[in-house]
């Protein structure tokens, strides 16, 4: 089979340019709250507010840095009303560390456990940290990885959405 490089590059460029955040159906699968209570994922989303979902783990330093930075912004009152859900992808090796770490950090986010990584897989998140912003039941922004300053971009995004929803 013949193939030219131009076609491959064109396909790559096309893919990157058109990959849009069009997920309108959120996964309808169970997730565990930090006290073990299982609920359907769709039921934990507050449809009246912008929701930020952060996939993280206790062993992932960039994830913790990102959540620390977001908590700092919340404490400073720099973010308008939004719901932040931190979904731990810790498996059985480290899942027991989630509650003590969260408590010591004083994070005020809603914490959920995705021990089997079913929710992470359903969102097709490959690596963590991975952030998803949901507005009116649709994914409007996704970001893989964390570099210092990413929280500023996220705040801008949340505030923009809040303004457009509540002008």
């Amino acid at each position: 089979m013949k193939l030219n490089y131009k076609k491959t590059l064109l396909s790559l460029a096309l893919f990157v340019s058109v990959a849009s955040y069009s997920q309108s159906v959120l996964p309808n699968i169970p997730i565990a709250a930090s006290n073990g209570r299982a609920v359907l994922f769709t039921s934990i989303i507050d449809t009246n507010r912008v929701t930020v979902i952060s996939f993280w783990a206790t062993w992932c330093v960039p994830c913790i840095n990102e959540l620390d930075a977001l908590q700092e912004k919340v404490d400073e009152g720099k973010m308008k009303s939004f719901q932040l859900i931190a979904i731990s992808t810790d498996e059985s090796r480290t899942v027991q560390k989630v509650r003590p770490l969260v408590k010591s950090k004083g994070w005020t986010f809603d914490i959920y456990l995705d021990e089997s990584n079913e929710i992470k897989r359903a969102f097709n998140a490959i690596n963590i940290p991975y952030v998803i912003v949901i507005s009116k039941g649709k994914i409007v922004y996704q970001k893989t990885g964390y570099t210092p300053g990413d929280e500023e971009v996220l705040i801008e995004k949340i505030n923009q959405l809040n303004v457009s929803e509540n002008p």
Partner: protein, 534 residues
């Protein structure tokens, strides 16, 4: 050319799928990942130089979701697989597909799926692409929740074995009953009990009439949690299971896992205790390495993030170990003398694992005291992490770690035991709203094995798109050969798409997971990876 052809066919459907907006008829999502290595000759490290100087692992996953229905597939191409993987493949295939219906009271998945019972110590099917592990089930998975406090899972099928599937079959059931169910998510007391039964059948055609083709495992567990405390315990018993990986040991398998956690104000405490005895469990009695694992036996130690802390890493001893770990996390509050304006976080971890106390032994079995530790120390690890934000621009982190590593047990062979101390200092300087510079200095002290190491890393980032880095691990303490393991590269990220390019040396070392280790050879060359979610 074949490589490019497959790559093109991986990308083309993704490009098309990403454009399809099905509106009220659901949506299509997915991900694409490609990891590529171009190997070069490196006499200094004895790096591998495969005949085909390229390794390329590629994954395309796509899911269609409509109301309560979802279906999808995973296509994988190894062109060929990158060095250090637990298998060698030079092929591409649609390896996984599934159909699923999920409702509050009922869930059904047909095809490939991942599942876990309890902590996974009795059953876990999972995927980790970096480690080359994928033991997805192929069969049927049913979830029944007739009331809001009872869940039943039924699993039947075969496990994935690279591009093939297992010879043996798994039949399994798990039940969970919530005795006290919190009215509010995340806020109230919760108490539940559960149990699992996992049965493996693999036909036996050998000469021993007493050899049974079926191995059964039974587990019971309890979980309690309230606002400030949590406790869980799990006990597993497994029938006689002689196989290659346990050297044909005939002991009944037993495992006990106890977890306790306590939190108050800005303090968190966690304790894990575990005893294992002949708990290796596979779908095929001849399987080795990380293939066809039915259960999951992680090392319950601190998962390290720094390079030099990942040289001497413990691996759980499924045949027999007893020990545990304790974690203490606390934050010194903001606006205190020690905490300063931003506070300071401190984390302490101690882990220790011993051999079982053996009281009688034959070549294929042993008797041991249940809750006594043997004299032989397998591993101990003491960690102190401190992180302090000094100002809006300046944050520093420190690690002090001391390790005792029984190399003969963990890696096999006959070696001197290793005592090592590691110190790390990390500084983050965020000099503009979206620009930051980060550096690490690391040192590993040891008089054994390959002696001392020095490590350093420098990284510059410009959020949200750019990052570049350079790092080096210098093994200057090795009398035979002093080697710099250097790496440099950069990444470009836009939303859920990330391109990473780097060049450097990868040291030979062990990758241990789920109670199994394998040696990853040294390699030098160019790495290009791209990940994307759509």
């Amino acid at each position: 050319m074949r490589r490019l052809s497959i790559f093109f066919y991986l990308l083309l459907p993704v490009s098309l799928l990403a454009q399809i907006d099905l509106g009220k008829y659901g949506n299509i999502t997915g991900s694409f990942e490609t990891n590529n290595q171009l190997y070069v000759r490196d006499v200094k490290t004895n790096a591998v130089l495969p005949q085909d100087r390229i390794g390329s692992n590629n994954y395309l996953k796509a899911d269609y979701r409509f109301q309560k229905i979802s279906m999808g597939m995973q296509y994988e191409a190894y062109l060929p697989s990158i060095e250090g993987y637990p298998f060698f493949l030079n092929d591409a295939k649609l390896v996984q597909k599934y159909f699923s219906y999920q409702d509050t009271k009922f869930g059904l998945t047909v095809g490939n799926f991942y599942e876990q019972f309890g902590s996974g110590l009795v059953f876990r099917s999972w995927e980790n692409r970096q480690l080359g592990i994928n033991n997805a089930m192929e069969g049927i998975n049913i979830r029944i929740s007739p009331t809001n406090n009872f869940d039943l899972k039924i699993v039947y099928g075969k496990q994935r074995k690279n591009f093939d599937k297992s010879n043996g079959t798994i039949r399994a059931v798990d039940a969970n009953y919530q005795i006290v169910k919190p009215a509010e998510i995340n806020h109230e007391r919760s108490l539940s009990i559960g149990g699992s039964f996992v049965s493996r059948y693999q036909q036996y055609t050998g000469p021993d009439p007493a050899f049974k083709p079926t191995v059964n495992a039974l587990s019971g567990r309890i979980n309690y949690a309230d606002v400030n405390a949590n406790f869980s315990a799990e006990y597993i018993i497994k029938s006689k299971d002689e196989h290659t990986a346990n050297q044909q040991n005939t002991n009944i398998g037993k495992a006990l896992l106890i977890n306790y956690g306590l939190t108050k104000n800005n303090v968190g405490f966690n304790l894990n205790l575990r005893r294992l005895e002949n708990m290796g469990f596979r779908t095929d009695r001849n399987a080795d390495q990380s293939l066809l694992l039915i259960n999951y036996i992680p090392a319950l130690t601190k998962q390290q993030e720094y390079y030099l802390s990942n040289i001497y890493v413990y691996n759980a001893q499924a045949l027999g170990e007893i020990g545990g770990q304790a974690d203490l996390y606390f934050n010194i509050p903001k606006n205190t003398k020690l905490g300063g304006k931003y506070g300071m976080s401190i984390a302490f971890n101690y882990a220790r694992y011993h051999a079982l106390q053996i009281i009688a032994q034959t070549p294929t079995s042993f008797k041991s005291k249940f809750l006594s530790a043997g004299k032989q120390l397998y591993y101990s690890d003491l960690n102190l992490n401190v992180k302090k934000k000094h100002s809006a621009k300046f944050t520093s982190s420190y690690l002090l770690q001391h390790i005792y590593y029984n190399k003969s047990v963990v890696e096999g062979g006959n070696y001197e035991n290793i005592k090592s101390t590691i110190v790390v200092a990390e500084v983050l300087y965020k000099y503009a709203t979206k620009k930051a510079f980060r550096t690490e200095l690391q040192h590993l002290f040891t008089k054994q094995d390959k002696g001392n190491w020095f490590g350093t890393l420098a990284e510059w980032s410009y959020a949200p798109h750019f990052s570049i880095f350079a790092s080096d691990m210098y093994n200057y303490g090795d009398d035979n050969k002093q080697i710099h393991y250097y790496n440099a590269g950069g990444s470009y990220t836009t939303g859920p798409h990330k391109l990473l390019v780097s060049y450097g040396r990868q040291r030979a070392g062990l990758i241990c997971v789920g109670g199994v280790c394998r040696l990853v050879p040294a390699a030098t060359g160019l790495n290009v990876s791209f990940t994307s979610t759509f």
